[in-house]
């Protein structure tokens, strides 16, 4: 009585006590003695160069998020803000970063060098949002804003501080779209940073959207 092999798509039935077990895309098979070995042909197995470490989904419950537990294991990180929304009763809301040198027990609130360049609303210029934190995405005006950004963090965990740099775009119903580029640093020699948090300097909650942290293999 022949043996039937039921697969994801169709069945195969042995004939004269023989079944063909073949490798398809990305797979090879080999047989020896009473053993069949199935092997992936991806050589070497691809190592992801970018790994999602954590995602925060904003839901109008907080304006500070400690990222320290997730920002580990790499020397280079990428942050992507996806359609983050703020209610802006005050101008110059931003999605910003602050560092710690004691693992997050206390936070460094002075000494940052920051700068970004913006173009939109019929003009362009540069602006420094201060020295208390590094902007990842600056929201403009006093109405709801949507923001998307991509920022690179390097130096974190080393001994000379850290740099954050990137570009972003913000939009709202009153002043339209603004494209921006910049960030900041906390430089020191030596300075080892081992804590990191998101903060909104205007202390109002992030309403919606996502903030994702990626480790970059270098």
């Amino acid at each position: 009585m022949p043996l039937t092999f039921t697969t994801d798509s169709g069945t195969a039935t042995s004939l004269t006590n023989s079944i063909n077990l073949l490798g398809g895309t990305g797979v090879t098979t080999s047989g020896s003695g009473d053993t069949v070995t199935i092997t992936s042909t991806a050589t070497p197995p691809p190592t992801p160069s970018s790994v999602l470490l954590h995602t925060i989904t904003f839901n109008n419950t907080a304006f500070i998020y400690d990222l320290t537990p997730y920002v580990t294991g790499y020397n280079t990180y990428k942050f992507i803000t996806s359609a983050a929304e703020n209610i802006s009763p005050l101008a110059q809301h931003s999605i910003s970063l602050q560092f710690s040198s004691d693992g997050g027990t206390t936070w460094i609130t002075t000494g940052y060098s920051t700068l970004f360049f913006y173009a939109g609303g019929g003009g362009f210029n540069q602006f420094s949002p201060g020295t208390s934190m590094i902007p990842l995405c600056v929201l403009n005006g006093t109405v709801n804003n949507l923001c998307s950004s991509e920022n690179l963090l390097t130096g974190y965990g080393g001994n000379k501080g850290a740099t954050v740099n990137g570009s972003w775009i913000v939009g709202n119903s009153s002043s339209g779209i603004s494209t921006q580029m910049g960030g900041g640093d906390l430089f020191g020699n030596p300075l080892t940073l081992n804590g990191l948090r998101l903060n909104n300097p205007q202390s109002t909650n992030f309403i919606a959207g996502k903030f994702s942290i990626y480790g970059i293999t270098t």
Binding site: T7, S18, P46, S49, S113
Partner: protein, 233 residues
């Protein structure tokens, strides 16, 4: 009732009607043993695997998708060189990403992290004809410049202090007959300022098959990393 011919008696012998055995078969795997039931065995794809069966053949396919970005090589700077031939690593893709991570440039006049191409696989290097542009802004103001024509500047350091730099760039066209273009953003950091930049350049109208990193002033890179990624397109 079944019968069987008996050659000694030349008669048919009655054969008792017993149960026909069903030989179930064991399939020993990496983790556990599967046993066929009623002559049927299930060959099911797990994570990243699908299976199909036709006739007397079972085919096993990988469904794993290729990663969109693959690390090809990383240079770790250690104060031993001012140029690095990266030709062996920049291959197999039409689009590449370069990331400079916490690169410490030497003190001295205006070091940079730049790119030069070759049309003979790296035997000689092209030292003229590049079109470049960068825009920077500092606490003191902003400006643009077509910085150089002998290389494409990826990270430009304007000063003589200890700088820690980062950059994130895309290169397209390399290997085609149209030349290549590099575009990205970078930032230089030192004790008193942070300087973001948008910059890049291109070399037009040649099949480029060699590429190197070079510091214009010729001094060694102190520390940090420079990584090369292939981008699936």
């Amino acid at each position: 009732m079944p019968f069987k011919f008996n050659p000694i008696t030349n008669k048919l012998d009655l054969v008792e009607n017993g149960a026909v055995p069903t030989p179930e078969q064991d399939f020993v795997t990496d983790a556990g043993t599967a046993t066929s039931v009623s002559q049927v065995i299930n060959v099911v794809g797990g994570t990243g695997i699908s299976t199909t069966g036709v006739g007397d053949t079972v085919t096993i396919n990988s469904t794993a998708s290729a990663p969109a970005m693959v690390l090809l090589h990383t240079i770790t700077f250690n104060n031993t060189a001012s140029s690095y031939d990266i030709t062996p690593y920049v291959t197999g893709y039409s689009t590449y990403k370069f990331i400079g991570s916490a690169v410490e440039t030497p003190t001295g006049f205006n070091p940079d992290i730049s790119i030069q191409f070759s049309t003979d696989g790296g035997t000689t290097w092209i030292t003229s004809g590049y079109k470049t542009q960068f825009f920077y802004f500092t606490g003191a103001g902003s400006s643009g410049s077509n910085a150089t024509t002998n290389r494409i500047t990826g990270i430009y350091v304007n000063g003589t202090a200890t700088y820690i730099n980062q950059g994130d760039f895309i290169m397209t066209g390399y290997g085609s007959s149209s030349g290549a273009i590099i575009q990205g953003t970078c930032a230089t950091s030192f004790s008193t300022d942070y300087v973001p930049q948008i910059l890049g350049g291109y070399y037009f109208g040649a099949t480029l098959n060699g590429i190197r990193i070079i510091n214009g002033p010729g001094t060694n890179y102190i520390s940090g990393k420079f990584s090369i990624y292939g981008i699936a397109t």
